[in-house]
Amino acid sequence: MDQFLSNIGLLFEFPIVNLKIIIDGLMIGALFALAAYGLALVWGVMNVKNLAQGDFVIAGGYVAWYLSRHGMPPLLGVPVAFVVMWGVGWVVYRLVISRVIERDLFTSLLATFGLAIIMAQMLNLLFGSDTQSIQLDYDTLYFFDFIDIPIAKLLGVLMATALAVAVVLFMKKSRMGQAIRATSQDARAARVLGIDTEKVYSFTFSLNSAICGAAGAIIVMVWVIQPFYGITYSIRSFVIVTAAGLGNLPGVIAAGLGIGVAEQYGAHIFGIGYQQAIAVLLLLLVLVYRLVQQRRVRQSLK
């Protein structure tokens, strides 16, 4: 208890710490948001809850890591991982996902859970179980002698932002984007109106996989990856999408950033070991809040 209080005391004693925590949180949140964003797409459009989400992230990280070890400039890893993981996503869609879309919730959960195990083990067999990362030779910016922003991290966040903006624009403006949105609203009606929903599905899943891949390529530059770390990103993606609600893409980004900041505050006050617990606790609070809200709506309907 004393420790909690003294940790809270530090926040007031050194107000600059708050700024640092918020900046750290936003930078972390941006990457979570990216992975969650893909999940929201797949969940919203195809009603598939992809438990392998985090493993796509890690796979993208390994693509970038592997190529940079073989002489590719590390920053190129992000677009390359996007493209490679697009292909992987397409194959996975053909092999697995296309067979479970029409089935019930349980089948798709089971299938993607199996997929997660297979992907993690394949990465392990291909690249070994060591933790890996790419170290970029960029400086770190310092402000007020206390806040540090590694340029590598900053670049990562900028790339994440650019990607998110590009996807939002794509969904709004392009024909394919419109078709995806139409399919997510009512797949049967979309089919009646001549939209090839099969194509939309495979496109959506590949896009999700590609976004994850790009996120992973950024993560390998700012943190470390290991074949079995996918679950971290899966859990956070689920928390973020559930909290934000489906079909609410700006909400997903806001929730991602919010969770990033909340986790950092929680880590500061309760200790870093509780970081993930805080994410899950937040999910619980949101769910309870939603439930209460809905009950109120239902009562007013009565």
Binding site: N7, L125, I225, I272
Partner: protein, 431 residues
């Protein structure tokens, strides 16, 4: 000749996992072909070695899963020692000679799987002697099984002290227990301070039995010097970010920062200590070599203290392997995949475990497992890996932990002082 141990592995069914991991199938079939040729040549030369009988050991070890890298290090260490013993005429007692053969199963880095496989080794394969798995967790899972069937197990990769307070009679460990890993850093910090009770310590460890032991050891020693523990936190198992802790380090300015969280913890700590310009005068971590912090992070790793069970620069030696440096050299010849890195201590201690078995069999002069168990318990020998003498609880009390400091990209031994090859850089200069 040196290629032989790896060929022997390839004929074993379990090692497929390992080879899938390291080589593509094409390469594998080529190397199998090479082995077949090599082996046929070899057998024509070593007819004498064939006269030896075989002692079968069993080991469930992580060839896949999260401990695979270190599991394979351990297996290579076992295999290297077995080949060395064979080359030196085998295990000799009575008027016979014996060679070791190990049945390996892949425990997939999972405790329940490890325990099942230990049962299988003992009940189906009728193994009478066991070599340990990798990690404290797996050893903890297997030890109750070997204990139940009264099978002596010499293990080299489980350091948690919780293994040695259960009253196990058949478990022996050649390595130093985990609470000793970073405790010497506390002593070192006390030596450097004018008043040890003014020293502020920050501890960040992962939440697993091994790292918590390290924490316990550090806190115990810090209490001895009446030091002040200003940060005491646990790292999350999965997320590779510790900026929240390092922010506090910046505010509270501890004199000694301790981090332990396997290779992920080491990589994260070194990277973020560099990024956040942490200027604590002393930083001590574990698993530097496994995370290759020098190769990955270069200057950011400078002056960081790393604990190790063994280093090739130590002056230990024995008649079988020669000096520690000689062990390193010969091991690299036998396993060329280690050519460009230093041999991890996980390999060396695995070899030492096999050596303990050889020594015990020769002293027991019997294949009876009880006699062998008693002989192991009475072990008191010097090896290239350090002294080995077991306490009544089965842990090795003859070998100290070593602290090395990363000085300009080199790992130099700085503590304990009787083995130190270089003076300590203190306070460390942040890059």
């Amino acid at each position: 000749m040196r290629a032989y141990p790896r060929c022997a592995e390839e004929s074993g069914f379990v090692s497929h996992h390992q080879y899938l991991e390291e080589y593509n199938p094409m390469k594998k079939s080529l190397s199998l072909l090479g082995c077949a040729l090599g082996a046929s040549l070899l057998f024509s030369h070593t007819a004498a070695a064939q006269d030896c009988e075989t002692i079968t050991l069993g080991s469930a070890i992580s060839l896949t899963g999260k401990y695979a890298t270190n599991g394979i290090h351990a297996k290579n260490g076992y295999e290297f020692a077995i080949q060395k013993i064979k080359d030196a005429g085998g295990v000799q007692f009575g008027d016979k000679c014996y060679n070791f053969n190990v049945i390996y199963y892949d425990d997939e880095s999972k405790g329940d799987r490890g325990a099942t496989l230990a049962e299988r080794l003992i009940n189906q394969d009728k193994v009478q002697y066991m070599l340990g798995p990798y990690s404290s967790g797996l050893t903890k899972a297997i030890a109750p099984v070997t204990e139940k069937y009264q099978i002596p197990m010499v293990e080299a990769e489980g350091a948690s002290r919780s293994l040695f307070n259960q009253g196990y009679k058949y478990l022996f460990a050649v390595l130093s227990t985990s609470e000793q890993y970073l405790a010497s850093a506390v002593t070192l910090a006390a030596e450097k301070a004018d008043d040890p009770s003014k020293v502020k310590v920050a501890v960040a460890v992962e939440n697993d039995p091994f790292s918590l032991d390290i924490r316990a050891g550090v806190l115990e020693d810090a209490a001895k010097f009446d030091m002040q523990v200003v940060i005491d936190e646990q790292l999350p198992r999965d997320l590779s970010d510790m900026s929240a802790i390092l922010t506090k380090v910046k505010l509270l300015k501890p004199d000694l920062l301790i981090v332990s969280g396997h290779s992920k913890g080491a990589a994260t700590a070194v990277r973020q200590i560099g990024e956040q310009k942490i200027d604590s005068p002393m930083v001590a971590i574990t698993h530097c070599e496994a995370a290759d912090v020098v190769g990955n992070f270069g200057a950011a790793a400078n002056d960081i203290l790393c604990s190790t069970q063994w280093a090739e620069t130590l002056t230990y030696e024995d008649p079988l392997f020669g000096s520690a440096a000689n062990y390193e050299k010969e091991f690299k010849e036998a396993f060329p995949e280690y050519k460009d890195k230093s041999v991890p201590y996980q390999v060396a201690q695995a070899s030492a475990a096999v050596y303990v078995f050889k020594d015990a069999f020769e002293r027991a002069a019997s294949l009876d497992k009880e006699a062998v168990r008693d002989a192991i318990a009475a072990t008191d020998m010097m090896t290239f890996y350090g002294g080995i003498k077991f306490s009544e609880f089965g842990n090795n009390i003859a070998k100290p932990m070593v602290l090395r400091q990363i000085q300009d990209g080199e790992y130099n031994v700085v503590a304990p002082s009787e083995f130190a090859s270089h003076p300590l850089n203190w306070p460390r200069t942040p890059q």
